[in-house]
């Protein structure tokens, strides 16, 4: 569905995308993860043909981009990071106006709009102004708007950033339905639970390059020990120095917490019983642990 080879984009002296390779299959949900500045949004803009790459090639449903970007965009629906619904229009008018940008006929749009309103759960808000909508409703409308021309592939740039948990679940539900209906989805996010929940496969990007790619479970199994014991409290530094090395496969201190990665959590917990002043949390390792291991823990701004 989407093949990207050796994609490069440079701004001034900064390489934002450096030799990116991606392959997204038809009907799959593909996650693009990465810290801020990893090149996720630039990659999406390149895929849409909005900016020209300095090197590399993009093929979307067999259409080369940016050469035939207009044609390619007929097949893509976009949910941008920042809401850009038309504030001068009602909910319904937003969908109608957007359909026209795809060259849809009035009749085609009129049959489509009620379906989209239903999909977004906004049937009762059809005539509401955008300013009257909650953040979650706006996102759902943006998602519905991206579907107006029934695209084959959907690009979502951080679709649930800034939403409360209820609203996020509603978006996820909508995306699940689209995946079940056979749509291809490319999703950028920095919520690991979102990626773990939705993505069939994902790529972790850093410094404009794919660091690792695979199914979430496979990545966790192959890149990280199965369990984590997070240790914190009085006397942590002594424990880290004297004990951690012998019981943890890999240990990392972040702030006031020691992350002890292990395939034998019992052993760590037994050792911790000798240090009653320390508190700990034992949990299975997850995608976030992989992400932090591969991209580091430094703050990115």
């Amino acid at each position: 569905m989407l093949t990207v080879t050796g994609l490069c984009k440079r701004y001034g002296n900064t390489d934002v995308v450096r030799g990116l390779d991606l392959h997204v299959r038809r009907g799959e949900c593909f996650g693009l993860l990465g810290p801020n500045g990893a090149g996720k949004t630039t990659t999406l803009r390149l895929l849409l043909g909005l900016i020209e790459p300095d090197a590399g090639s993009i093929e979307l449903a067999g259409i080369p981009v940016p050469e035939r970007a207009r044609e390619a965009r007929m097949k893509i629906g976009v949910v941008p990071q920042m809401d850009n619904l038309d504030p001068d229009f009602s909910v319904r008018e937003n969908l109608i106006a957007y359909g026209r940008y795809f060259g849809m006929s009035r009749a085609a749009i009129s049959t489509r709009v009620p379906e989209l309103l239903d999909f977004a759960g906004l049937a009762s808000k059809a005539d509401a102004q955008i300013a009257q909508l909650s953040g979650g409703m706006k996102r759902r409308l943006t998602l519905a708007r991206a579907l107006v021309h029934d695209p084959d592939i959907l690009f979502l740039d951080e679709p649930t950033t800034g939403l409360d948990p209820q609203a996020r679940h509603l978006i996820w539900q909508g995306l699940r339905r689209l995946i079940n209906a056979g749509k291809t989805i490319v999703l950028t996010t920095h919520f690991m639970d979102e990626a773990e929940r939705l993505a069939d496969r994902l790529a972790i990007l850093d410094h404009g390059r794919v660091v690792v790619e695979g199914a979430p479970r496979t990545l966790i199994e192959s890149h990280i020990e199965p369990a984590v014991v997070e240790v914190y409290g009085e006397g942590l530094s002594d424990w880290t120095r004297d004990v951690a090395g012998s019981v943890c496969r890999r240990a990392e201190t972040v702030g006031e917490t020691l992350f002890c990665y292990t395939d034998n959590a019992e052993r760590v917990i037994d050792a911790l019983k000798q240090a009653p002043a320390l508190r700990y949390l034992h949990r299975p390792s997850n995608l976030e642990d992989v992400f932090l291991k591969l991209t580091g823990r430094d703050l990115r701004d």
């Binding site: 007929m74 976009v78 941008p80 850009n84 038309d86 008018e93 106006a97 940008y101 795809f102 060259g103």
Partner: protein, 258 residues
């Protein structure tokens, strides 16, 4: 570096979008855009006109009415591509949303330009209606030729204004354009008094300004004569507008698509 615009009929949905929004607020919008120049024209025309002898062989009201056709058209196009286009581009991010569809920036900008021409037409027609109503014209059929002139003036100032839109960081920036370009033109191009009253150096500058060309076309048509140098004036307006549009497209591309 500068790529020529690739125009297509796809600009129509952009025009339509602006039209639908305008339709919702048509009454206040018409009042804002049209009442203002009309009040100036009638107030000054009657008030000041009663103190003045004929100007260039016509009543001052007629003189001013002909200037106002061009002036209000210029303002309508300028305001549209400055404040309204800027809202859509920068504040509401409407253009970003459109660019994610098969539309290109060329389509969006051309749609905005044609929309500005439409607003100009409306504004020019309103003044023309007053000219007809008060019988300020010499030959009715010739006044009909003012309609394409008005469209051309809208094109000219729409294209030029889009350059300002492309480089502006905020609404405040537009004040420079008004103070340094629009207001001097209003005073130098023969809206309120004949250019011949100006010192020679200012007359020479005036001859290069687009509003002068607009007025040189509009005023004879109101009075009832065929304007001289039609080709030159039309070419000047077309050239200013096209150059503006091409530069604006290149600058907007740099602003949004990088």
């Amino acid at each position: 570096m500068i790529k020529l615009p690739r125009l297509s009929w796809r600009f129509i949905p952009v025009w339509q979008r602006n039209y639908l929004v305008w339709k919702k607020l048509a009454i206040p919008s018409i009042l804002g855009n049209l009442a203002d120049p009309m009040l100036y024209m009638l107030g000054l025309g009657f008030g000041l006109g009663s103190l003045l002898p004929d100007v260039d062989g016509m009543s001052y009201l007629t003189f001013l009415a002909a200037g106002t056709v061009a002036y209000s058209t210029m303002n309508a196009a300028t305001f549209e591509v400055l404040y309204s286009s800027f809202s859509r581009m920068h504040v509401q991010r409407t253009w970003d949303a459109i660019l994610n569809t098969p539309m290109t920036l060329d389509d969006v900008l051309f749609g905005e330009l044609i929309w500005a021409v439409s607003k100009s037409l409306l504004s020019g027609l309103a003044i023309l209606a007053v000219i007809w109503g008060l019988g300020l014209y010499g030959n009715f059929w010739l006044t009909l030729a003012i309609i394409p002139v008005v469209a051309l003036v809208g094109f000219c100032f729409g294209g030029m204004g889009l350059v300002m839109n492309a480089v502006s960081p905020s609404y405040d920036f537009f004040l420079y354009y008004f103070t340094l370009a629009i207001t001097p033109m209003v005073l130098l191009c023969g809206v309120f008094f004949p250019v011949s009253q100006l010192p020679p150096i200012l007359q020479a500058i005036s001859a290069w300004l687009p509003l002068t060309h607009a007025i040189d076309l509009a005023r004879p048509l109101v009075v009832g004569t065929v304007p001289g140098n039609i080709g030159l004036h039309a070419f000047a307006l077309l050239a200013y507008g096209s150059a503006g549009f091409i530069i604006a497209l290149a600058l907007t591309r740099r602003r949004l698509l990088r």
